[in-house]
């Protein structure tokens, strides 16, 4: 039930007095003395799709110069299901060069991020994103986030159907406040007024204080678990009968984030609670979302995700309350099978005769470097592409629905701009993922995106020494325990703790259906390399045919002394 007001977390109060997310954003934008927003507005800005950050590399230097931190903004553009048009790509590319730091960042939730946007350029950038028919509202904040959907199912029709549903849920759960339009898209005119008083805003679904915390959804199409369906508050596993969509197994209560040294927080795998028909997807989503809206913990943001609501009250309670809201009960879950949670690279033919090209984008960062002009290359490709561009859940790209006749052209452009890295990269690198981390992420405690590529190089050498050069192992790194690169679902997970210091997690399932366990605390690079080298040695000599590294470590007992991450289960069901 709702807690008394006095215990509400500060963010709850900010939301409550924000007048449907307006706060003092307009005044903050106009304040010419600082590159920052007023403090409360930095919470509200998230709902509008952007975060206030500062370049942490420069913090100390600027303090000495008596300058404020190098305030800048990260804008996240929602791409429901990860599908965008070449035209949209070109727009984002233009914004990145005009107003951001000249790079585009593909996220682990199939969205775009722009970094380094100055306050003065926010409005232009957000407008331009909306002009492209993408948007930023609810890309962050206590709302339903970008809805994910498997990037390339083998069956094109199935993909389209699931993707359409993802889009439908996304727009169904988009906040309705007019503040977004008013602040970013109109020409500064005041809020619409009728007979002297402002038209009252309303959020039929969310209410005036929105959700207690972020809410995440994903659609997975087996055998691919690229979306890591068990990491989400609400998940849908597509069940097809002979390539025709029959419905979905529904999963609830997944989440990655935990807080350093706070055992009350933990990563948790979602649980499968039943099967629903495609036409029930909206209703199921709404029921879970409003349940969490009403029962989620609004006093403690570290404990406010659906996973804690479920663990606190029990799955039975959850199921009852959920079914009450749905006015129905779910059918029994159907069997499914996942093969992996990674991406496919190279050309693949869809069942409709069109082709998909999976491209490896290391850590999702698209920039121009000598010999690897990825940003320019993708711009050239987008100008010509007769198909669509898909952002994958692993920060990579798929050039999708390419007519066979265009393949050669695309190949040439890919080669010319060094986008064919997937051909040479080791399977380890192709299965690596790092969150953004330093210097922009305000929560990072260690390097991530800027460091993992180097570390992978050293691990590659170690693996090669054991003849494991072609072995696919998932490795993920984050700069803090929040888990943005879903590190607890990697066979090797490295979670930042301090400069150069990581907790080493091992033993997740290759298909994302089992969490890893903390193998060693506070290790430095040398320790990581030594520990892994030893384990690779054991793996090579003892593994069963086809056995994955994570499964092996578990079976061989290396993880026996390692505690499971929390009260939640580390395997689904």
């Amino acid at each position: 039930m709702k807690k008394p007001d006095t215990n509400l977390s500060p963010v709850e109060r900010i939301k409550a007095r924000s007048d449907f997310l307006r706060g003092t954003l307009v005044a903050s934008l106009a304040d010419s003395a600082t590159g920052a927003l007023a403090e409360d507005d930095t919470q509200l800005s998230k709902f509008h799709g952007f975060y206030q950050q500062d370049n942490r590399d420069l913090r100390e230097d600027r303090r000495r110069r008596l300058l404020e931190p190098d305030y800048q903004f990260m804008i996240r553009a929602r791409v429901p299901g990860g599908v965008c048009t070449p035209g949209q790509w070109l727009k984002l590319d233009e914004i990145a060069r005009l107003w951001a730091n000249g790079t585009l960042r593909l996220t682990t939730r199939q969205a775009f991020q722009l970094h380094g946007v100055l306050k003065r350029d926010l409005k232009n950038s957000i407008r331009a994103i909306n002009d492209s028919l993408l948007d930023t509202i609810a890309a962050c904040g206590d709302v339903n986030r970008n809805v994910m959907s498997s990037a390339v199912p083998e069956h094109s029709a199935l993909h389209r159907e699931v993707h359409d549903l993802a889009r439908a849920v996304s727009s169904h759960l988009t906040p309705r406040t007019t503040a977004y339009h008013e602040i970013w898209l109109s020409d500064g005119g005041p809020r619409q007024r009728v007979a002297g008083s402002a038209v009252p805003d309303a959020e039929p679904l969310y209410g005036p204080v929105y959700l207690p915390r972020k809410f995440k959804m994903a659609f997975a199409v087996p055998p691919r678990n690229d979306v890591d369906v068990f990491a989400h508050d609400l998940g849908f596993i597509a069940i097809a009968d002979k390539n025709v969509l029959a419905g979905f197994n529904v999963t609830v209560g997944g989440g990655m984030g935990m807080t350093q040294a706070d055992p009350a927080t933990y990563p948790r795998l979602a649980e499968v609670i039943g099967f629903c028909k495609p036409e029930q997807v909206l209703a199921v989503s709404e029921a879970v979302l409003t349940l969490q809206r009403d029962y989620g913990d609004r006093t403690n943001r570290k404990h406010a995700r659906l996973k804690y609501t479920i663990d606190d009250r029990g799955l039975d309670w959850f199921r009852a309350e959920f079914e009450r809201r749905l006015g129905d009960s779910l059918a029994a879950a159907r069997p499914w099978e996942f093969s992996d949670n990674g991406d496919r690279y190279g050309w693949q033919e869809g069942d409709d005769g069109l082709w998909h090209l999976g491209l490896f984008i290391e850590n999702g960062r698209i920039a121009d470097h000598p010999g690897a002009e990825h940003l320019s290359g993708l711009r050239e490709i987008a100008k010509r592409l007769e198909g669509e561009i898909r952002l994958t859940p692993n920060q990579n790209l798929v050039l999708a629905n390419v007519p066979p006749a265009q393949r050669a052209d695309i190949d040439a452009l890919v080669r010319a701009h060094g986008l064919d890295g997937f051909r040479q990269a080791s399977p380890l690198r192709l299965h690596a993922m790092a969150c953004v981390g330093l210097p922009t992420c305000g929560l990072a405690m260690a390097e991530s995106e800027r460091y993992l590529p180097e570390l992978v190089g050293r691990i590659e050498a170690s693996m090669a020494g054991h003849g494991l050069g072609r072995e696919a192992i998932t490795i993920r790194m984050t700069g803090c325990p929040n888990g943005c690169a879903r590190p607890y679902l990697a066979e090797i997970g490295l979670v930042g703790k301090g400069p150069g210091l990581y907790d080493l997690f091992l033993g997740a399932a290759f298909d994302g259906a089992r969490l890893n366990r903390k193998y060693r605390e506070s290790v430095r690079e040398n320790d990581v390399l030594d520990l892994l080298d030893e384990l690779f040695g054991a793996f090579v000599s003892d593994r069963k045919t086809g056995e994955h590294f994570g499964d092996y470590l578990l079976r061989a007992g290396f993880l026996d002394d390692c505690a499971a991450p929390g009260p939640g289960r580390d395997v689904p069901l």
């Binding site: 010419s32 003395a33 600082t34 590159g35 230097d61 600027r62 303090r63 000495r64 110069r65 008596l66 300058l67 404020e68 190098d70 100055l118 003065r120």
Partner: protein, 598 residues
């Protein structure tokens, strides 16, 4: 002796006079003299004060000064004259009412030139009056002008010359020829003073005699205990902190500098400036001498003694600021006539540009000449100190003084050239080094006595320095008048000087409002004057509430902001041009529009 004050006209009550008498009786003559000087000094400091109309038959020493040199000279002259037995006081021309001007009999004017040949701000009204339709007949006035200036400016001493012309046109007579002083004005000014005093003595100006001076010491106007440290005896201040305060990608290199005045006994007020003596760099001097083929150890004799040429150039001569004389003299020594021909082809404007783009080394490198050490000593102007607005309040920093200095960097034909003092301070000095400094008080740029007066502080670039001093002072005093900072520079991200401090003051209520005009942060350039124009209603509202406006920074900004202010007021109040001009000059006269431009 105070009984003559017991008159109808006296502003003092009988009781007050008796109290004063009691106190004064206990003083010896030198104490009395000191006290009178002190009182006069205080009178000059507290304005606007109701100064009793002086005896107009006495010689009047009038000054119009911007950076304080002229003011100090005028005070010195008054002191000398008084010591010589005359009743003389130095007054700012700003305090002269038209009626007084019409009644002037003997007056000397010390006036400097600023802007581009303009008089100091305090003299604007006087100039306007003298050339207006109601300009006075000054047939009864005998005067002389001491003009201060700097030969490196195009319009050398123009204000002094113009003042003389205006006075002559009103029928006044010059009793001694005008003297124009360059930056090394000490000798010229002393000679002129002697001349003035001799003239006054010959003509027995005024009723005073030596005996009377003894009797009426209240006419002394200057505190006689001269400070130990000064322009010619700078205090060696230790550099305690040197911190660049613009971002790494800024086009401007601005440093925050903290110097120690420990044990100097020096005391400054927010608004004052610091004079800094910067020596030329040994390497630059040696490079120059090498090009000229002069042995650095060559000894030369000049007015102040004998030096090696190396030493003379480092400590006593200007190498970075060229004067026309220097160029002409150098051209005459040319091995060919290339420089001379170049100069002949120059009109005044071209010459100006020629000078601004070059330092002496650029001449020497471009035009071959045969120059001896003695030639050099004569060609180059004496070294002058540079002024920097003080960016701190002693209430906050005790014995420190803070400066905000931007390195002057120019692209000369021979490469990058640095300004002498700014480069010395920012780049050549290191913490622990000593630098010779002296105070340059600036009474025209102080916080209002009434601390509740709203303040509009407008600055560009390093012009923000004195405002930091103001805010430190107000914060220490716990005063928070309504304060509005309007600050301009190229980029918010790298060029908002002391941004953290300003934001803190805003957060803590010492500053109500900050408008940044960051000119290059958007396509259309946006300057402080644009803020003034865009915020015209607010500006007027603040003015109605009694606000004082301060302007500090670049000269051009000052003009632009004044224009914008005039337009803002005219627009908001529906004033015609005439009325708007009057409004502006009233603001100036009431010291509600204060400027410190350079």
């Amino acid at each position: 002796m105070l009984h003559e004050l017991k008159t109808e006209a006296s502003p003092l009550s009988e009781r007050q006079i008796d109290c004063l008498q009691q106190g004064l009786d206990q003083l010896d003559p030198s104490q009395t003299a000191w006290l009178s000087g002190y009182l006069a000094g205080r009178l000059a400091a507290d304005r606007p004060a109701a100064v009793p109309t002086p005896d107009v038959t006495v010689l009047q020493v009038l000054y119009a000064s911007q950076t304080g040199h002229g003011e100090a000279l005028a005070a010195g002259l008054a002191e000398t004259a008084t010591a010589a037995g005359f009743s003389v006081r130095a007054r700012n021309v700003l305090d002269l009412r038209p009626a007084e001007i019409r009644r002037l009999e003997y007056a000397v004017f010390v006036i400097s030139t600023h802007g581009e040949g303009d008089p100091p701000d305090d003299a604007i009204d006087l100039f306007d009056y003298l050339q207006s339709g109601r300009r006075p007949a000054l047939d009864g006035l005998k005067f002389s002008v001491l003009a201060l200036g700097d030969r490196s400016y195009e319009q050398f001493c123009a204000a002094g010359r113009n003042l003389e012309d205006l006075l002559l046109a009103c029928g006044a007579q010059a009793f001694a020829p005008r003297v124009e002083c360059d930056v090394d004005y000490d000798q010229d000014a002393a000679q002129w003073s002697e001349q003035v005093i001799a003239h006054v003595r010959e003509n027995q100006v005024g009723p005073d005699s030596g005996a009377e001076t003894q009797r009426r010491p209240a006419h002394l106007s200057v505190v006689s205990s001269a400070p130990a440290w000064g322009r010619s005896r700078p205090f060696p201040a230790t550099v305690e902190r040197l911190q660049r305060i613009t971002g790494p990608d800024s086009t401007k290199e601005v440093y925050h500098i903290e110097l120690s005045l420990e044990d100097s006994g020096l005391h400054y007020e927010p608004g004052d400036a610091l004079g800094v003596w910067a020596p030329n760099a040994l390497e630059s001097v040696e490079a120059l001498l090498a090009v000229l083929n002069i042995d650095p150890a060559t000894s030369v004799e000049v007015d102040d003694g004998e030096f090696t040429i190396r030493e003379l150039l480092i400590h006593h001569r200007e190498l970075t600021r060229l004067a026309p004389e220097t160029i002409k003299g150098f051209a005459a020594l040319g091995r060919d006539d290339s420089l001379q021909r170049r100069l002949d082809a120059c009109d005044e404007k071209d010459l100006r540009r020629f000078i601004e783009e070059r330092q002496f080394i650029d001449l020497v490198e471009a035009f071959p000449a045969t120059v001896t050490a003695a030639d050099l000593a004569g060609l180059l102007r004496p070294l002058t100190p540079r002024s920097y607005s003080i960016a701190s309040s002693q209430a906050a920093v005790d014995a420190q003084v803070h400066l905000t200095v931007v390195t002057k960097i120019d692209q000369a034909p021979g490469g990058r050239r640095y300004g002498l003092a700014s480069h010395y301070l920012n780049n050549r000095l290191q913490t622990g080094d000593e630098v010779g400094v002296f105070l340059e008080p600036n009474r025209r740029f102080r916080l209002p006595e009434d601390r509740s007066t709203p303040l509009i502080l407008i600055a560009t670039g390093t012009g923000i320095a004195p405002y930091r001093a103001f805010l430190q002072q107000l914060e220490e005093e716990g005063q928070s008048p309504r304060t509005w900072l309007i600050f301009g520079n190229p980029h918010l991200r790298s060029d908002f000087l002391y941004q953290r401090e300003w934001l803190r003051w805003r957060k803590n209520g010492f500053v109500q409002r900050i408008d940044g005009a960051f000119s290059r942060d958007q396509e259309a350039k946006h300057y402080v004057q644009d803020v003034v124009r865009a915020r015209a209603p607010d500006i007027c509202e603040w003015l109605d509430a009694g606000a004082r406006i301060y302007l500090c920074g670049a000269l051009a900004m000052g003009d632009a902001v004044e224009t914008a202010l005039r337009q803002a007021v005219a627009g908001q109040r529906g004033l015609d041009q005439q009325a708007a001009n009057t409004f502006m000059s009233d603001l100036r006269r009431d010291r509600r529009l204060l400027k410190d431009l350079y």
